[in-house]
Symmetry: C2
Subunit: 334 residues, 2 copies
């Protein structure tokens, strides 16, 4: 490995001057500049980022924590964040947490030892105190964490209201909800939106709300139970698309026709919803934009280097995408 001292020797200057050339700090005379640049290219010198990081205490790395990259909602987020990171010269670290608080802490510790500059995190388990002890720029994504950590989210509650209203508009009389995991702010908000619309109806029944964990399998089973126990249900709002697909499968397994006997709407807008049969209506998030924005915010936060500055949270709008699973029935009513 060639070092800055090799370059200095060849250019017959001091290491300080080479460093000044590299970082374009301080004044360097044109002649010297040229000599140094020649030496650099002659030796094909590339500065050692580790040494730089050691001195600076910063590493030009950011990390993204997701529950599981195999869940199709996250790759787009990851792609966006990585694009932004690399555009700004940052290296991108990916961590799968499985929604496990222990794992999150282990990763955080390891990354801190590596002087990672900041974190974007999708989590519902990380406690606020754990974050407080951690003096690292953090942006919460998709789900809020406490109140003083900046978050990039969507208007979950309003979007959920829209979704349920849409089901009503296509003729649904008994609408159930398969919710996301306890403690996830987006799951709570989506459920709240559901309740906003149907909570006061005469038919509403708390058992119309099923636990879910954002996976298709679990939703499949939940929907089977639900539909068998309450055959009168003619609309389901799933808190994400993956669970929406699970519901479609359950309906198929029970011989319930979608959308005629059961309308289904999901949330997220993943590509998967376009290739199922029937295709899945959904409340689509601007996923790439959200991921990119979170990364931009994080990097800006890092660059301003002001750990205590308040970072404004951002909320995006969600868009209703009507597909076959909620196609208005020609003649409905029971």
């Amino acid at each position: 490995m060639t070092t800055i001292r090799d370059v200095a020797k060849l250019a017959d200057v001091s290491v300080a001057t080479v460093s000044r050339v590299l970082n374009q700090t301080g004044n360097v005379s044109p002649k010297t500049l040229q000599r140094v640049e020649a030496a650099i290219s002659q030796l094909n010198y590339q500065p050692n980022d580790v040494a730089r990081s050691l001195f600076k205490g910063r590493s030009k790395m950011i990390a993204l924590f997701v529950p599981d990259i195999m869940n199709p909602f996250f790759p787009e987020l990851a792609r966006a964040a990585e694009d932004v990171a690399s555009k700004h010269g940052y290296t991108f670290v990916l961590c799968n947490t499985d929604g496990d608080g222990e794992k999150e802490l282990t990763y955080l510790k390891a990354l801190k030892q590596k002087s990672v500059d900041g974190i974007i995190i999708v989590s519902s388990t990380l406690s606020k105190d754990a974050m407080a002890h951690l003096d690292l720029p953090i942006i919460a994504l998709d789900r809020k964490i406490g109140t003083n950590i900046a978050a990039v989210t969507v208007n979950n509650r309003k979007a959920a209201q829209q979704a349920v209203t849409h089901l009503q508009e296509v003729g649904c009389k008994r609408i159930a909800h398969i919710r996301g995991p306890q403690g996830a702010s987006n799951a709570e908000d989506r459920m709240a939106g559901y309740i906003d619309i149907v909570g006061q109806t005469d038919w509403f029944n708390p058992s119309f709300i099923c636990e879910g964990d954002y996976t298709a399998d679990h939703a499949y089973k939940a929907a089977l139970d639900l539909l068998q126990q309450h055959p009168e249900i003619d609309g389901i709002f799933a808190a994400n698309d993956l669970m929406g697909v699970g519901v479609l499968k359950a309906a198929a397994a029970l011989g319930k026709k979608v959308p005629d006997e059961l309308a289904v709407i999901g949330f997220d807008g993943i590509a998967l919803g376009e290739v199922t049969i029937p295709t899945l209506s959904t409340m689509a998030q601007p996923t790439y934009d959200i991921g990119a924005r979170a990364a931009e915010m994080l990097i800006e936060h890092i660059d301003t280097y002001d750990l205590n500055r308040f970072v404004e949270p951002v909320e995006y709008e969600v868009k209703l995408i009507k597909r076959q699973s909620t196609e208005r029935r020609t003649n409905d009513d029971k």
Copy 2:
């Protein structure tokens, strides 16, 4: 930040002794050990990995290069590699290359400056010389690169033969192929397998092989053209599942019934194939295992620290999964 010198001072020993405790190298008396451990926990000391990396020239980081994490085949690979990395105490860096050689080189340079310990790469563009100049442990994944870089792949050619044979068995008389991108070894091998089976038939026609780039959109268009130009085609082997889904959409758009008028089989075994209608038959790769194995091999390679050691390539078996898109017709023939 508390440093090793703080710990040394508190425990009233030298930094060397603290280092010995941390790394369990050399001999430390029980009493001293205890004092040092007490000091470490009292100060909540965590060693600085950057300093360690600088001295050692290694960073305990590995990177995975994929064309695009949004392609559903890659998240599973990434998940597997990350699991293995983190199990071994490595940090996992993800790079999206878009199959762009320039981007690959830029990433490689940046990672080398960070003393990344090794790379797993899915690439068909990286030249062998570029790799040769790079003295970093590398494992090729999914696609081979040259002949002297260890690779973890599947038996693409044989699997392709199986896929095409399966189409024949369900009654297909005219089988087309939508191939992967030029230069990708797996695309070439899969095409070769296709030709092995149908190349000598009297009906075979080179125009039955369409260019593809492993995306659904492109395959959709290619399949539209193909089916319109050659209405006699009754079977399509798509070089990956995403393109298989594109073919299904094209068939739907043209009103061709799958599997009765057109049987379709893909390659990869991504979850997507289970939720389309009809569900997509495929040659399923043991994707997680492949990713995990590549990571294990890389880390073993790094640990033995023997850059010139020959690493044995590994080839996995692919499994035919029959689904609706190739369900045997009750009474076929033209």
